[in-house]
Amino acid sequence: MNKVKTPLVEMKDIQVSFGGIKAVDHVSIDVYPGEVVGLLGHNGAGKSTIIKVLSGAYKKDGGEILINGKPVTINNPRDARQHKIETIYQTLALADNLDAASNLFLGRELLTSMGMVDDDAMEAETRKIMGTLNPNFEKFSAPVSALSGGQRQSVAIARAVYFDAQILIMDEPTAALGPHETQMVSDLVKQLKKAGIGIFLISHDIHDVMQLCDRASVMKNGKLVGTVDVADVTDDELLSMIILGKQPENQTT
């Protein structure tokens, strides 16, 4: 990686507490343009929490966020979207009662000149992006509750990539997917990487991370164990970081 450039996103010394529990304890992570950074750790390690600070779902109790070297304030999901940060949540965050187009454009509806919601235009756009992402997708007028897990996932992905994201957060994007759809997500990640987008990939699947990520940041009990170049470590070394919370001997970051 080209580390002389400024990082696309730098989260410095982030702290989040719930009650008395420090869910994220002075953690710093960053991502460069065209880079995929994996966030690893057990359930409750704090990886989803720190990422939700970036996507605006949680408020941080300390630390700062820099985008292209400039400090920014992110108080809610709207702020995050304005900074071109898009998130694919583990829960997908879809309104099950609405169709694919309504979900894709939720909060950013296309309007007619009269200021009305333009459903036909949104469906047309949805058909376009789905044509490239998941050509098998056909149920455009059904509520997303009627879709399969993979189809729902592709709606959530389409929503994140449609609006020219610069920073993409993927929280367990393949957890609910079959092998074919997992491959689709991998291809998409590579394609987005080429386009210069910075990606945080949260996963507890070591193989995903080894295959897709350039660097990996490992968290345990709310603290950062360390950040390593994926090319420099073995599966076992990553595993021991996750399980034992130990930085490999030969690594310096």
Binding site: A93, V117, D120
Partner: protein
């Protein structure tokens, strides 16, 4: 045979649930018509039915939004009573002191004041629910007691009467109708509007290359819509005014008393319901606010993560409910011509029942405006039908209660089978 009928209806792309409700309504009407020796399906009774349904129907459209966002409003009946009492006092005791009795501005000021107070009270309830996160059930249960008490307090329990004559037109009755001529014009305009909207929608869909219904299906739907509208106008225009009312009305206008029949036409409150139904449907389907109401009901967390301010949305939904309650209060009090202490009692339950029978799911995210209107009409038909047959009041309550539970059970069973 049954297969071809099924195919016919599927090509029309109608909502099966709505067809079921219309079927239930027709069934009720036919049964009551038999039981009353043909007195139920007369222009006179259908006119009365349309006026009696109006107040609950107006509130039911707002209750759809409230329930879709996973809330409930138990306070609408009491709020209707309080707003009716305030508007009654304003037009009968306060404004005449400054403007004189029957001043043409009295009804305008009264309605605007009622609407403002309704919206304000609704917004305050919504703020407590959205921002202070007190459950809607509790907030509106509190409101239920507070407003009923406050209504009593306005006049220490005295009935307010008489109301302003222009105001009373908003409640229907002999004077409060469009008359035959304007009813035909209104029906014609509505028919043209319906056809134009269908054509525009088809063009737009075709323009995007989406699949469209076969043209005969469009013609069928258009013909059904137009005949329903014109049929309704025709029935309303077949109910003659009583001789006394004709004399009174023509004498007031300094016209000679006619020796031919004069007909009611569409009642003004029904016209109000139609306009509100159209407006609320547009809000639900075609505005961001409506989209966010349904998204929040479907998945509040997803709505929040999509940047929707769900707390403010709650305030707006309850403010809208308050405004609609004010309109319902206008209709209810104007229809009776006076405001008593018990105005709107139990209306909250009728309104919730109408919305729920109309397919609004208490789990949130699902509901339609036309469904709520049909629900209100079914409830009212049941009630006035039983009254006409001569069923005792306690038994009426028992039947209405059982029908409510049965309707929701059938809805659940249908949804399970349809897999939706």
């Amino acid at each position: 045979m049954t297969n071809s009928i099924r195919l016919f209806f599927s090509k029309l792309e109608l909502d099966n649930r709505m067809l079921g409700m219309i079927g239930a309504l027709i069934f009720l009407w036919v049964v009551f018509n038999f039981a009353t020796d043909g007195r139920f399906l007369t222009p006179r009774n259908l006119f009365n039915l349309s006026v009696q349904t109006a107040s609950v129907a107006v509130m039911a459209t707002g209750m759809v939004f409230v329930i879709v966002t996973r809330h409930i409003d138990l306070s609408v009946g009491s709020l209707l009573g309080l707003l009716g009492m305030l508007m009654g006092t304003l037009q009968a005791h306060i404004l005449p002191q400054y403007l004189g009795f029957e001043h043409p501005l009295i009804w305008v000021i009264t309605v605007v004041a009622g609407l403002s107070i309704g919206v304000l009270i609704g917004a305050v309830q919504g703020w407590i629910i959205g921002y202070l996160t007190v459950p809607a059930f509790i907030v509106t249960l509190g409101g239920f007691l507070v407003y009923r008490g406050a209504a009593w307090w306005v006049t220490t329990g005295q009935t307010v009467a008489p109301l302003d004559a222009s105001f009373k037109l908003l409640g229907g009755g002999a004077e409060g109708t469009l008359g035959a001529g304007f009813s035909w014009i209104a029906g014609l305009l509505a028919s043209i509007l319906a056809v134009v909207l269908m054509v525009l929608s088809r063009r737009q869909k075709a323009g995007h290359g989406f699949s469209i219904k076969p043209i005969w299906a469009e013609y069928t739907l258009g013909a059904v819509a137009v005949s329903l509208i014109m049929g309704f106008v025709w029935i309303m225009n077949s109910y003659p005014l009583s001789k006394g009312a004709v004399k009174r009305i023509f004498a007031n206008r300094d016209l000679p008393i006619p020796d031919f029949n004069v007909y009611h036409g569409i009642a003004i409150p029904v016209l109000i319901v139609v306009m509100i139904a159209v407006l609320m449907t547009v809000i639900a389907k075609k505005t961001r606010f409506g989209r966010y109401v349904f998204a929040t009901g479907g998945n509040p967390e997803a709505a929040e993560l999509s940047g929707i301010n769900t707390r403010l949305l709650t305030v707006r939904v309850f403010a809208l409910m308050g405004g609609l309650t004010a309109i319902a209060a206008v209709i209810a009090s104007a229809r009776l011509g006076s405001v008593g202490n018990d105005l709107g009692t139990l209306d909250e339950l009728r309104v919730i029942a109408a919305a729920v029978i109309g397919g609004t799911a208490l789990a949130g995210g699902v509901g339609t405006i036309y469904g709520a209107l049909l629900g209100a009409l079914i409830m009212q038909s049941l009630q006035s039908g039983m009254a006409m047959v001569g069923i005792d009041a306690p038994l009426q309550s028992i039947v209405v209660g059982i029908v409510l539970v049965l309707a929701v059970y059938l809805d659940i069973a249908y949804r399970r089978r349809a897999g939706a």
